[in-house]
Symmetry: C2
Subunit: 130 residues, 2 copies
């Protein structure tokens, strides 16, 4: 595991951006940050873990919602400073209830971003459980 971590270039805050993509549809689901511990936990468990910069803690994606992401493949870019994970996504990746966090598309005519994604769950129901 230490060998793998050593190959990755972390930024000055000890973090690396991680892109998460649906392994089947290839839809880009989200982008978040990982520290070495998040990567180690992710590889050890097969479930995506991230580092929250606001809460300053490690988190298991889907811990509250049960919408976990099971790792199918892991890629590192040419500069070794960005990771790409292909995953099997349960439910939706976005805390607002959408399949992907990228549910707002630029509409050039309107000069604004408009919602194009469809909700796959009700965040009110999912997150008030805790």
């Amino acid at each position: 595991m230490a060998d793998i971590i050593r190959k990755i270039k972390f930024n000055s805050a000890g973090l690396v951006p991680a892109i998460v993509q649906d392994s089947q549809t290839r839809e880009v689901l989200m982008m978040a940050y990982m520290n070495a511990e998040a990567i180690e936990k992710t590889l050890a468990t097969g479930k995506m873990h991230f580092y929250s910069r606001s809460r300053k803690t490690l988190w298991l994606k889907g811990e509250t919602s049960s919408h976990i992401q099971e790792v199918r493949a892991v890629f590192l870019d040419c500069d070794s400073d960005t990771l790409l994970f292909q995953v099997s996504q349960r439910g939706g990746a976005c805390h607002e209830g959408y399949r992907t966090c990228f549910f707002k598309q630029l509409n050039s005519d309107k000069g604004d971003f408009t919602i194009v994604g469809e909700k796959v769950f009700d965040p009110e129901k999912i997150y008030r459980k805790k």
Copy 2:
């Protein structure tokens, strides 16, 4: 244009990460950073422009290699702090000659990243022209 820029949350350095995805194959090609000017130039020209943190300048992707990326769709995530561009990629996105910058895949058996991408051009030939 100002309305669009206002919707995006830039980090303390005035930058936002941008994921670039092939609009047809949905392959993730690269991740780079944009400032407001890079976004404005990209939307005005339809060609991806980024901000180089090391060179501290705006750059047109493909300026040297001619491997430009034509914008097909633009998405903003739930937190409005990450952009996703679907593009038509000419040649290869990676300066090392690969179609995608994510050409190294984690091989769990070997405990290392191994090259899985195929070269689509010879970087020696492309970049020594200048």
